[in-house]
């Protein structure tokens, strides 16, 4: 039976219907057409589906959509300023060439945002540990780490 879920996504109230066995990732992508979060592994290993749920970084493939009743979700679509332009982390990824195919990028940016929201000036070591749950098969990680450190200043 479909359940109605009321939540807040990217600061907008959102209601959707879902089956109990649908993941948050599936609802974001298939029901709400928010396709920024990617499905890499669908089992919690790759971080491509990373979103921020009630202020905490999570893998949206490992969250049931029904669990988000009353919750606040931030996805890659919601981080750029409404007035236009990019979020500083997005800008830094572009300037530092921190992406190639781009599949991992929304996840890395959300994970980086969660880190910088908590710890605005992490060391390189802290950045690398924090991002260890995000996999990238293209860049070799170095440019991603440099981009995050560029924002951290």
């Amino acid at each position: 039976m479909k359940t109605q879920v009321s939540t807040t996504i990217n600061n907008e109230p959102v209601e959707f219907l879902c089956q109990p066995n649908e993941s948050l990732l599936e609802v974001l992508r298939n029901t709400l057409s928010l396709t920024g979060a990617k499905e890499g592994c669908n089992n919690g290993n790759c971080g491509a589906c990373s979103v921020i749920l009630n202020g905490v970084l999570v893998n949206s493939c490992c969250v049931l959509a029904v669990e988000t009743e009353g919750a606040s979700v931030t996805t890659i679509e919601g981080i750029a300023p409404k007035s236009g332009g990019l979020h500083p982390i997005q800008q830094a990824f572009l300037e530092n060439a921190a992406l190639q195919c781009g599949i991992c990028t929304p996840g890395f940016i959300m994970a980086s945002k969660a880190l910088l929201d908590k710890n605005p000036h992490p060391t390189e070591h802290e950045v690398r540990y924090w991002l260890a749950g995000n996999l990238c098969r293209c860049t070799g990680y170095d440019k991603i780490v440099k981009a995050v450190l560029a924002v951290a200043g």
Partner: protein, 296 residues
């Protein structure tokens, strides 16, 4: 068109222990409690476990949160995620031997959801929190339809993926005793061997604790992970340490040998039987050194 890959199930958002236990009694093994979901959602999706109903237990107040006063026992609600435990500065400072383990379960996004009770209930032979909890003499507090009971963490895992919970039982909280008072000093550490720096599953691990009094080890716990079907208590290693001076190299060597002997690993892609037995000793020694230094 949306294609559901995960088997269909009903969802109950439980708000009381009684409600959760009633559903779990009614449905038996086909009811699965959901806390962080980082194991159960993947298991259901991959068909490794089956459910008719998934019971969200993390909105039950007693299952979420921490209770501790300096010098006292620590109670951790079973559904409390790792990041809230190691992110609690006073508790993290008071229980470094637990934080060793809690801070390396998965990556950041997993730690945002994965609960302590979930890691225990998954009962993986390599579950990082379990040897650390055993070293701290932790106890599982369990609610059921016919009352409550307590099970020591060292008796909670019964085989790979199987725990001691019976039909209709729910792990409510994990209680860690104060472990030392007065002139006694407690120290504990958890260490695992993995071939990379982060985000891996232990090849072998050890949770060790000591209680020191007057430069002597008066109590010791040695629990091994990933070297048997369940975490293993190396009783002979504990015996080798009790009564020894903290700098007694012979006792340490005896404990290492006893830990290697107690280990009953398999060979798999993560490591061979011989390597794991060897590592059980090495991890025991290094965790012991750290536990002793923390007790001082």
């Amino acid at each position: 068109m949306y294609i559901a890959f995960m088997q269909a199930f009903d969802y109950v958002n439980a708000t009381t222990i009684e409600q959760a236990v009633a559903v779990m009694y009614r449905e038996g093994d086909m009811a699965k409690p959901l806390a962080g979901g980082t194991d159960i959602i993947v298991q259901l999706r991959e068909g490794r476990k089956n459910a008719k109903v998934v019971v969200n237990v993390k909105n039950i107040p007693r299952l979420a949160g921490l209770d501790w006063a300096p010098g006292g026992a620590l109670t951790i609600g079973a559904a409390t995620p790792m990041h809230l435990i190691y992110g609690n500065a006073p508790i993290a400072a008071a229980f470094p031997g637990l934080m060793d383990a809690f801070s390396l379960v998965g990556g950041t996004a997993i730690q945002g959801r994965a609960s302590l009770g979930g890691n225990l209930c998954t009962a993986s032979p390599a579950g990082d929190t379990i040897p650390a909890l055993i070293a701290h003499n932790a106890v599982c507090v369990i609610a059921g339809t016919s009352g409550w009971r307590e099970v020591e963490v060292e008796k909670f895992c019964v085989s790979p993926g199987r725990n001691a919970l019976q039909r209709g039982e729910l792990l409510v909280e994990i209680r860690i005793p104060a472990n030392a008072t007065g002139a006694q000093k407690f120290g504990a550490a958890y260490l695992r061997f993995i071939p990379r720096n982060e985000m891996d599953i232990a090849v072998a691990s050890a949770g060790v604790s000591v209680v020191l009094e007057g430069g002597k080890i008066v109590k010791a716990r040695v629990a091994l992970g990933a070297v048997g079907p369940t975490p293993i208590v190396a009783i002979e290693a504990e015996k080798a340490l009790i009564g020894a001076a903290v700098d007694d190299a012979k006792a340490v060597a005896a404990a290492m040998a006893a830990a290697s002997t107690a280990a009953t690993p398999i060979s798999d892609m993560r490591g061979t039987l011989a390597q794991r037995k060897h590592l059980a000793g090495i991890m025991t020694k290094r965790a012991l050194e750290s536990a002793i230094s923390r007790a001082n």
